[in-house]
Each structure stands twice: as C-alpha cells, then as structure tokens.
C-alpha cells in the first residue's frame, strides 16, 4: 500500500530522510519510533505528499502523493500530534470534511459519541476553543468516520485521559481490518497491544524493523 524507494529529503544541508526504503502493507499496524529529529514526521509528511523528495519517491497504492494528491488522500486519514488552532466551528469543520472527503457527518457524530464527546452540544463552538482532549477526540472520530485504508496517527493519545485512551483503542480494534495503521509514537507501551510491527528510525534512516505478535 505504501512504498518508499530511496526516499531522501534534505532541508538545506540537513538530511532528514536518508535513502529510506520501506513498505507498509494492509493488515499491518506499525509503531514508528525514534528520537526527536529521527525523521518520523518527515516520513509521514512525505507520505501525505507535503514534501517534495530531494530524490527517490513515495508511492501509495501505486500513485504519487504529490501528482495524484486528491486520489491518494481519499484513502488516508491523518491525526496530527497537536490539534491545529482551526477557527472554524465544529459544524463548519464537519461540512468541510463532508464535502471534500464525502464523509458522513452522522458517522463522525457516532464515533465522537463512542469517544464520549457530545458534538451536538458544541456544533457552533469554534474548534480551537475546545479543550485539548475534546479536539483530539473529534480528530480521531473524523479519522475513523473517513473509512480510509491508511490511518496515520502522530502521538494520538497525547491529550487523552486513560478512559478516552481505552475508548480509542477499542474503536481502533474494531476498525483495523484490511488497513494500514501507522502510529508515530515515543511511548511504545501505549500502542504495544495494537501493533504488529515496530520500526525505529534514527538520523533519517530505518535502523530496525521487526514484526511482533499483536
């Protein structure tokens, strides 16, 4: 599903990704780990088509995420590490997602309820005025409602309390079939039960890639 071939990304003299070759296939749940500056975020952003590779390339289901961004992103859900300060109201944000990605807003509400987030009471509230936990829950609900084949989570549980984390893991378990789940994380113990593959990065390279029982 996701394949990088000799993917190199430089920012000035700094090499953020150094000839990375890796494949992520369906039914894989991957924990992508590494110290700060290891290249995890650069790899994720390259997969999402945000970065133009210095050399090499990325292919998602055989498509280039830069040239075919719309087709590629139809199949990707992404939750960033820190919810951005989007000034749209929740209703407007849901409208944006519903129109652009054809996501059923009822399904977003359903997953939000599962995450114990009452969307209907907050529909007219600006997204950035929600608490950190509420924002994260909404982004998770959107990611699940989108029904993508590839779901990318960058430290998804950073703002969640233990109960919300349990809800999140339960929902992921119900939705992991035939998908690629990619977790960028510093805390393996949090996603240990969910993942069947652990990838470590350092200085822009893949230094370890092992399968584990989930």
């Amino acid at each position: 599903m996701i394949k990088t071939t000799n993917l190199t990304k430089k920012f000035g003299a700094h090499v953020s990704l150094d000839s990375v070759n890796i494949e992520f296939n369906k039914n894989e749940s991957i924990a992508l780990m590494g110290a700060n500056g290891a290249g995890k975020t650069t790899l994720i952003r390259s997969i999402l088509g945000y970065y133009h590779p210095t050399s090499g390339g990325v292919s998602i289901n055989g498509l280039d995420p830069i040239k075919e961004r719309v087709k590629v992103l139809e199949n990707i859900s992404f939750v960033p590490q820190l919810p951005p300060p989007i000034k749209l109201s929740i209703a407007e944000l849901m409208q944006y997602i519903s129109v652009s990605a054809h996501v059923d807003t009822e399904l977003i509400t359903h997953y939000a309820n599962e995450m114990k987030l009452d969307i209907k009471a907050n529909l007219n509230k600006s997204f950035f005025k929600l608490s950190g936990g509420m924002k994260q829950k909404l982004l998770i609900a959107i990611s699940l409602a989108k029904k993508s084949n590839i779901i990318i989570y960058d430290e998804p549980t950073a703002n969640l309390d233990p109960k919300a984390r349990d809800d999140f893991y339960r929902l992921l378990k119900q939705n992991e079939d035939e998908k690629v789940l990619l977790f960028v994380t510093h805390r393996l113990e949090e996603v240990k039960d969910l993942v069947n593959r652990q990838v470590y990065m350092d200085l822009g390279k893949i230094v370890s890639d092992e399968r584990v029982g989930s």
Binding site: Y50, H52, I86, Q95, A101
Partner: protein
C-alpha cells in the same frame, strides 16, 4: 458544493468572525459617517460638492489605507495557516491545491471588497435620502477602481504568502511593499529620476506601473477629464490615449497585475513543500 466554493465560503465565514474584519468594516463605514457628520457634502472645494465631494474624499483616503489593510490581513492567509499547522491538517483531505488556493483568494476577495463598496452604497443611499443628487458615473467608476485595487493587492499578498514561511516575515514584506508603492516610487524614486533629468516618458511609465498611482490618476480623471491638476504629466497620458481608454486601463491593468501575482503565487505554492 464544489470544493473551490466550499473553501471560499468557509474562508469568508471565518474572516467575517475575525476581529480584523470588524475593525476593517468600522474604518470604512466610520469614515463615511465621519464625512457626513463633518458636513463634507455641504462643503465645496475646487468645484466639487455634495456626494461627489464626499466620494472624492473617500477615495483619496482609501488609496492610502485599503492596500495596507488588504496586505496585512491577507499576507498571512497561507503562511499563517502553515505556521500554526492548520495547513497540515486541512490539506490532509482530498482537496486539490488549485481548489484550496483559488478558493482562499475568492473568499478573501469578497471579504475585503464588500465593506469598501458597502460603505459607498451607504453614503449614496444616505445622501439620496438627504436630497443630494447621485453622481452615478463616479459611483460606478469607483466601484470598478476599488475592484481593481483590491484585486491587485490581494494578488500581491497571496504571492508573498505563498513563499514566506513565517507570518512575521510576511507582515514585514507587506509593510515594505506598501511603503515602497505609496511613498518610495512616488516621492523618492520619481524625484530622484527627475533630478537626474531622466526621460520623462520613462518616469511616467514607472509611475503608472504603480497600481496605487494609476488608481489615483483615474480617480481624479472623472472630475477633471483633462487632468489639469496634474500639470504637464497629463499631456503624456492623454496624448497616448483617450480619457475613457485611460479609465479602462486603470481598471484592467491592476486586475491583470493581481491575477499575474496570484498565478505566480500558486505556481510557488504548488512547487514548494506545503508545510
């Protein structure tokens, strides 16, 4: 709804709620109110009176403040979203970059253009109620000129926004552009060139390439078709083309300039890393 109009619609809604929009609308609306309170319509200067006089004053102030308002509120449009990671999330949905960029421009254009025209409409309606005759030719010319000036500076602002990484730098550049077009080209460069006895046609060409300058000249051309207040410069302009051709040029040129800048901004936006 098409993604392009979705982006425009949401940007418009977001802008209307923003504090800068309130200030922006109050400035232009307040200016009209102030003119009425100050009795501008009752005064007569150089033969202009009533609503014509009010519109003339409105447009003269607008020349100075509209560009800087558009620049500082728009120049952070994309760079600000990039700065605070909004772009990273919003562009993770299947929206083409073309739809996102041009949708933002359409939304922002409506946001900056409507209050300035609305203030003029209010002036005309209020003036009509007070029994003043409405100078329709001036009203329509100014509507067109404001459209053109808004287009030019919106295009320039999006161009800057597309390549600047930080919104602080974007603000600095916006301010520099405004000062350069308002003062430097008009006062410093032109005076210097005149002092150096450079070719007058070249000096006038450079002056007219400035969208603020062409706006200024077109604004007075309806009151003063011979452009007598401009002195000998008028000969160069009116020898080259008729007054109506000049008015058309003064609308078409800034619109084209804005489109060209916006287009190059899009090319850069597409070519560069998005976040």
């Amino acid at each position: 709804m098409n993604n392009l109009f979705l982006i425009a619609y949401l940007d418009l809604k977001e802008s209307i709620r923003a504090k800068w929009f309130l200030v922006y609308s109050l400035v232009f609306g307040g200016m009209i109110a102030l003119f009425f309170i100050a009795g501008v319509t009752e005064s007569q200067v150089m033969g202009f009176s009533g609503l014509s006089r009010l519109l003339l004053m409105y447009i003269q102030v607008t020349i100075v403040i509209l560009p800087i308002f558009i620049l500082i509120t728009t120049v952070r449009s994309i760079s600000g979203d990039r700065d605070n990671h909004i772009l990273e999330y919003m562009l993770s949905f299947p929206i083409s970059l073309k739809q996102y960029y041009w949708g933002k421009i359409i939304g922002r254009f409506i946001t900056v253009y409507l209050p300035v025209v609305f203030a003029m409409v209010v002036a005309v309606v209020y003036g009509f109620m007070k029994g003043a005759s409405i100078p329709w030719d001036i009203f329509f010319l100014y509507t067109g000129l404001l459209f053109a000036l808004s287009s030019a500076f919106l295009g320039i602002a999006f161009f800057v926004s597309s390549f600047v990484k930080s919104s602080e730098v974007a603000l600095g550049i916006a301010f520099f552009i405004w000062i350069a077009l308002l003062a430097f080209i008009d006062i410093a460069l032109i005076s210097l060139m005149m002092q150096q006895r450079m070719d007058e046609q070249l000096i006038i060409f450079i002056a007219m390439a400035n969208p603020m300058e062409i706006f200024r000249v077109a604004a007075i051309s309806l009151f003063d078709p011979e452009l007598t207040v401009m002195g000998p410069v008028a000969f160069y302009i009116l020898d080259l083309m008729s007054q109506s051709a000049f008015v058309l040029l003064s609308i078409a040129y800034p619109v084209l300039l804005g489109l060209v800048f916006a287009f190059f901004g899009f090319k850069i936006f597409k070519k560069k890393d998005l976040v």
